[in-house]
């Protein structure tokens, strides 16, 4: 179940990163919003990982190289602009992907049909904030631009075919580009110009090659579970 792991790990890892915001959000209302998104994603991850095996064994006992998430979702939260840029790139992709999967009759259709409503909300949240940060103050505009640029090179990987997902990947990429471009234009921003993938190991996250911040994240996530082998919680 390569696809269940890929999609499940995306949701799990992004949920974990969003959970790190708890107690640190810029305003109380946003504590609630970010937690909602994190909880939706965690719910999706649990369903997807359960299709592939035992959710906790998969989450807590795999080594870093066995995780199949894209590198985008493991990137540290950074400032709020980085989190929003990550959300915009990922949730736009996830919504398009789930729309496709929901239309098909593959194993993910039921999950995708339910999740696509949640994801549409995540995408809306990211868009609303992209507009406000992009077209807010000079400072917020600069921060948003820097964040979009910094994460841009992780976006190409989103459209590497995932075995088991019957999706027209290049069409997905085209749709993604036009949606993201439309939002950025409204936000008085523009699409970053640099390369949209790293120079080595294309599609690396899906092959188990991750970025350095992922190791410490997993160490923290897995430490307690691994310290008590076989224990129930």
């Amino acid at each position: 179940m390569t696809a269940a792991l890929a999609l499940g790990d995306d949701a799990l890892v992004l949920s974990h990163r969003l959970g790190e915001w708890a107690g640190h959000a810029p305003v109380l209302e946003e504590e609630v919003a970010l937690a909602n998104i994190a909880l939706d994603l965690l719910g999706q991850a649990r369903v997807l990982l359960s299709l592939a095996g035992d959710e906790d064994e998969l989450a807590y006992l795999r080594e870093e190289r066995a995780f199949r998430n894209v590198q985008l979702v493991e990137q540290p939260n950074g400032d709020f602009a980085h989190t929003i840029a990550r959300q915009l790139y990922f949730s736009t992709y996830q919504e398009l992907l789930y729309e496709e999967l929901a239309r098909g009759d593959g194993p993910f259709a039921p999950l995708a049909a339910k999740a696509v409503k949640e994801v549409a909300y995540h995408r809306d949240h990211a868009e609303q904030w992209t507009l406000r940060l992009g077209d807010g103050t000079e400072e917020s505009h600069q921060r948003m631009r820097r964040a979009l640029d910094a994460l841009w090179r992780f976006t190409g990987e989103l459209f590497e075919p995932v075995e088991g997902c019957e999706v027209e990947w290049s069409a997905l990429h085209g749709a993604w580009l036009s949606r993201v471009t439309a939002v950025l234009t409204r936000a008085t921003l523009s699409l970053p110009e640099g390369p949209w993938r790293g120079a080595w190991a294309a599609g690396a996250g899906r092959q188990g090659i991750h970025t350095e911040p992922f190791g410490p994240m997993l160490a923290q996530m897995q430490h307690l579970h691994r310290s008590h082998p076989g224990a129930a919680w």
Binding site: E31, L39, R46, R132, A231
Partner: protein, 318 residues
Amino acid sequence: MTTTAADAGAGAYEAVFDAALAADERIEPRDWMPDDYRASLVRQIAQHAHSEIIGMQPEANWISRAPSLRRKAILMAKVQDEAGHGLYLYSAAETLGTSRDELLDKLHSGRQKYSSIFNYPTLTWADVGAIGWLVDGAAITNQVPLCRCSYGPYARAMVRICKEESFHQRQGYELLLALSRGTEAQHAMAQDAVDRWWWPSLMMFGPPDDASAHSAQSMAWKIKRHSNDELRQRFVDICVPQAESLGLTLPDPDLKWNEERGHHDFGPIDWDEFGEVLRGNGPCNTQRISQRRRAHEEGAWVREAAAAYAAKHGEARA
């Protein structure tokens, strides 16, 4: 309220207020109320709201390390609820004419307090369970009577909060039960957490009645319905059988049933420790406030951006 006070003086307003209290009616935001009643409510609601948002920190400390995905989801939902409860309470305080920004300023500058319990650290995963069972349990014991508080918005906020919080205590109890019945190491972890959280939980009810500065007036105003000692006793009586079912021991050699009183007797509380923590010398006071202040300061550019966007795009600004 049926009395019309349209052309009367302050005395008549006060009479209307007193009559409403006597009839157990709610006071609502636009009603006349004594200045001290208003001030007392703002102080209490603000402290309560601050406690909710500072209280997110010790538990959020374990979100990244929660040992199963189920526990991770529960903990995230719980910490989210605390943010929501903070919001309900700040809104209740705003009906009294104090903005959330003013209250946050006072929290950040140390002029308003939050519950001292959150100045204790969460050292192990079991602390998440102990907080749910004991800290939330004590909070609920305190809060249930507040659903009948004389000030309408506060009472209604508390109804909502109590309803949502019922799962908080249960998840904590269930978490501890799993540990207590788990491996030897897990059981020890649970016992250690209960040992550390029991006494601070008892302190959550505030100083003994004979030393409580605000109690008598708050009771007369029906902001408060039961005395500190009364609620503390109720909590102890509830916890003793629950601890037995958990298979854990409450760390008090003097704890025993008193047939005559129909209550459990319990040992003396270390009020010196309480006073020290209250004065800012608890293990986490500085850390909690500085994290809170940092989040607020680092979020300033975000709040400003959204306000600037709204102004640019001609949104109705209140």
